[in-house]
Symmetry: C2
């Protein structure tokens, strides 16, 4: 039966083919042109892939998970549309954001429309698991909104603890990965216990993933990561690295805070100065350790799942790719 | 069995009691305080009432429709939150709008959260009709977004036909009333045919309702309607009255357009001048006739429903209240 598992490449292709077919010439054009623009921007497809992998792993029919996987990717795109307004982000995946290219109103409305479409796709889940899948989806949506609110709160808060930061990224990022996995398991009719283990695995994976993102922003090769190195530092974002550094800086904390929030320093000098302090405190290694801690917890959880080890291989492989990525 | 039907007053009280219990002290407060603020503003509760009346009419258990009715009212509040941003409306039901009192970001996110909550409540529909109810709900949500986009398009469009206007209010207003009625019927396990008739009834009712709103804005007693008389004229809104007047004005059309879009005239003078033109063209009577046409079509549809006439009385009564309201 192991031979019948699908490869990551196959699942990705299969998903992308289905997702591309959403493109349509619906009216009013003022609403659907921005929607088509958003949906044709590509992306890692992490959430639908996790859902399909989870479904496949429990012997489910991946065709039954395909439309719900479209739903989860639509939802992800909806959050990006609205987040970009809130964060005033000019670019997304190298292109102008919808609110910049058109206006805020269209970005709000395009997002709302995509969220409703997402629910329609989620509702195509097989009847035996439909209600659980759809409830999990909307409960998760609420948590993602809560996470975004915490993230906005942090912008103006003078003291954010590491604990609060982890809770924020759990809500803003991890729960959606976890829910994608659990929905895939539910569609495959896995036991409630297995689905829960996979959810908890997803939380750990999501935390590790976001911390890795924080790390790559500072230490990733700019070429590979495709973003300006140190972008978070330039934008004074309260990341794990910064909060950890503040915690450990002792007398240096005031200086770090001043440099980090300074708008007087040229970007390059600011990044260099912050990285020097990070370096003196061993922040890179501490963050790397924290990522490995969550990653290991995720791996252990996957190991505890009561199914043959061979069925776990594609998900293990994908998880490992996410963790050892350099972009 | 007729005796067992519930009165409008009972249904309204019953709904309001359940709706009030949503109020909770959830975290983050920065998100839930604006949500509680929005949900405690009251309202006509037209959509949940229509759903409960439809459910009751077909012998359904109104307790099974109560949570879905909360879902539809939550959805309505979500649309108001986002519409107020897009329309830059400072006031809603006499109070500051969320985006004014707090900011646009919170209003976006509060709306998104309420939309997800709405879906959770819709998903409590009894299993026999859950999928159809939830699909109808989200399909309707998409149409409402499309209607809002058309409405925004009209603001900058130089020529809007009556036909386009009716299609806009069908999407923006009527489909949600129609869907509320159909969902109530589906929850009561009415036949597909009956549910469809009730949907079509709701469309006609919705069109008549919106045209009545347009009419009251100009000719309603300010005291009773609770809004500034002529508000639509002051804001240059392309209502049925204005579009009909343009259509009939002939040589006067240019003058009407100039006065209507003028920002030089004092509000009072502008309203008086526009009303004079409306009066010379018989716009009030024409609009009243159009309302009666849609209302009569709705009444005929209700009459064609194959259930005992006595079961239709509360819905007929409520419909008539909506039509003969002066506010």
């Amino acid at each position: 039966m192991y031979q019948s598992l699908h490869s990551i490449e196959y699942l990705l292709d299969h998903f992308n083919q289905a997702f591309t077919q959403l493109h349509g010439e619906k009216q009013p054009a003022e609403l659907y042109i921005p929607i088509n623009y958003t949906l044709s921007q590509g992306g890692k497809r992490m959430r639908p892939l996790l859902m399909l992998l989870a479904c496949d792993m429990f012997g489910g029919n991946i065709e039954e998970a395909l439309n719900p996987a479209i739903g989860i990717e639509l939802f992800h795109n909806f959050t990006l549309l609205h987040d970009d307004i809130m964060d005033q982000a000019p670019l997304r995946r190298g292109k102008e954001t919808v609110y910049k290219k058109w206006n805020t109103n269209v970005a709000i409305l395009a997002g709302d429309t995509i969220f409703a479409q997402a629910n329609l796709f989620i509702l195509t889940s097989p009847s035996r698991s439909k209600t659980r899948v759809a409830r999990l989806f909307n409960r998760t949506a609420i948590e993602v909104c809560e996470g975004q609110q915490y993230d906005m709160n942090f912008e103006t808060s003078s003291s954010v603890s590491i604990h609060e930061y982890i809770e924020m990224i759990r809500l803003k990022t991890a729960v959606l990965l976890a829910a994608s996995l659990k929905m895939g398991a539910l569609i495959a009719f896995a036991s409630e216990q297995s689905a829960k283990i996979l959810y908890d695995f997803g939380i750990k994976l999501g935390l590790a993933f976001q911390l890795k993102d924080d790390l790559l922003d500072v230490y990733g090769s700019q070429e590979k990561f495709g973003k300006v190195s140190g972008g978070d530092i330039i934008e004074c974002k309260k990341t794990f690295l910064y909060l950890k550094a503040l915690e450990l800086a002792g007398n240096q904390a005031g200086e770090l805070r001043q440099i980090y929030t300074s708008s007087a320093l040229p970007n390059k000098d600011k990044v260099t100065a912050v990285k020097e302090i990070f370096s003196s405190l061993g922040i890179r290694e501490i963050t790397q350790k924290e990522i490995e801690k969550y990653y290991q917890e995720a791996v252990d959880m996957l190991a505890s799942l009561d199914i043959p080890g061979t069925y776990k291989v594609p998900l293990q492989q994908y998880t490992s790719e996410l963790m050892y990525r350099e972009k």
